[in-house]
Symmetry: C2
Amino acid sequence: MELRHLRYFVAVAEELSFGRAARRLHIAQPPLSRQIRDLERDVGAPLFDRGSRGVTLTAAGRAFLPEARLTLAQAERAQRTAQRAAQGETGRLRVGFVEAATHSGILPDVLGFFRMHLPAIGLSLLEMDSAQQAEALRESRIDLGLIGSIPPDAERWLHTETVYADPLVLAVPEDHPLGGRRRFTLADLAAESFVLVPRYASPVLHDDIIARCREAGFSPRIAQEAAGWHTTVSLVSAGVGIAFVPQSLARLTRTGVAYRTIRDFGVELQLTAVWRQREKSPVRERFVTTLRAVARARMPAARSARGEGSAGRRQPPVPPAPPRTALPRTRR
Amino acid sequence: MELRHLRYFVAVAEELSFGRAARRLHIAQPPLSRQIRDLERDVGAPLFDRGSRGVTLTAAGRAFLPEARLTLAQAERAQRTAQRAAQGETGRLRVGFVEAATHSGILPDVLGFFRMHLPAIGLSLLEMDSAQQAEALRESRIDLGLIGSIPPDAERWLHTETVYADPLVLAVPEDHPLGGRRRFTLADLAAESFVLVPRYASPVLHDDIIARCREAGFSPRIAQEAAGWHTTVSLVSAGVGIAFVPQSLARLTRTGVAYRTIRDFGVELQLTAVWRQREKSPVRERFVTTLRAVARARMPAARSARGEGSAGRRQPPVPPAPPRTALPRTRR
DNA sequence: CGGCGGCCATACCCCGTCGGTATCGCGCTG
DNA sequence: CAGCGCGATACCGACGGGGTATGGCCGCCG
């Protein structure tokens, strides 16, 4: 028994005529008769009573009809399910992320987009640090990691893509002596007091800043630790100290605070997506595409993120184009 | 897409190896590869990741697998449903019956057998008289009628089969003068008082008896009406009168009552099944087969019922052999 | 009442395709 | 590095799905 038999049977049962059914199926009547005969032989019982004036369903045929319809519907459902899974419209994705990914607002936006437009995708979110994510990826406990920077051992089996990069600029109180100067070097700040992100909140960023300062010849004096960027800016505004903040923040000018670029400071706030290199996953591709779009919308400058991978392509921000396979569809 | 593709896909997905799956399917590996490739083209997405070391399911494949299994199961279910319907193991039957059919105990026995052995059959029971049944059959409101005798207009489009025939004998009190006589004619009973079934309970039987008496030259004097045979016998035993009762009752001898055959009385208690001539119905055949078996078990004499139709065949009483079509089953 | 037309079955043919054999390409492995 | 295991590719034969032509049956109508 094949689906063809069921399709033919349903057509004949609906038309109650071999001739009309054959026309509807775009085949000739004799082959249709033969297929139905084969089906009846296979089922083991006649399904139609042939009268010279059309045909009628037998008891077996009447019982068979709804089941045959169900079978055909189930077959189509199977096909659609596979297609949707291939296009990443359904499935499951386990995402590891550092806390900073939520603070930046990028991850919440992506999640909101998925809940809104792709509700059939099950997302599992697991907060963990970079090292844990690398291990979880290796052990296939997560499918995607979101980390603050590319790990030192940029492993060969991992694909990394920095989707968001925001250079840090200096925030100073408007009435601060440095407010008037045009150009800084890092060393000029040796005597200042800083508002700094606590290490536990963003270890990579914290360490990067400290390391750059030490390279410039001083160890920064920490006046106050602050976990959120807006808090940090408020403290700067209040004169507690100066701070390094993402450039994107500088666009929302706040009274009492001035922003100054430090040439060759080179520390960036980053968000990098990382996943198992050779594993194809339509859902992951969807996620990354969305992530790129959301992140780009929040990027401070027009230039795109400089991650390795295919991060350079321009795409409409939201919604992202679905990843499509190039295979042509045949009939049915 | 055909069921073949799904069967092959499931095999490969379960074995995670084209070679092993091909062996399991009893085909060579290259055709299997081609079928899977065709399936993937049809679905519109790759279902397997081919590694040189076996294969893995893609996300689409993982989503497709359970749906494919469901489709195959549904197809088998469809087939079995049709088979069962063809053998009358499932379906619906609307049965019209006269009240006497239940009093005789035959119909309840058939119903009990169906509830016990064929619970998947839905039986609709509608009590109506012979004329109503004929009309209901014509209008296809019932599929089978159970009546007390063949209707006067033994219509050409109806098939009738008398499944039960029980000649009436005379029941007299043991101490009654008639008890000693060997041979009777009906006319000998002209002066007696009778216990008779009320007309509303069995109109045909009632009228038959009255008519025979009038032919014999008298109109019977009714001492008492009684609706059940056992009640009738009790009344005879108590000396209320004499009565015509089914011969089968005479086997259960009751103290105080003697039974005598009246030559050429010729009135029978009958139960006749009737249905639309040219309509095939496995459930109806089942029902009639069972009916025959149950009725025969209650028949008084060894001789079979003399109905027109195929009533003469001997069959094991219960359970009846299922009507089987001679079509051979092919593979799968 | 006989010819006609509609309907399905049968007979026969062609070619698409399913399944078979032979072979290749490619990693992995001893 | 040769061997091997696995899937893909190439090619072939034959089975069967679909085509046309035709027959048998029955209801209809002139």
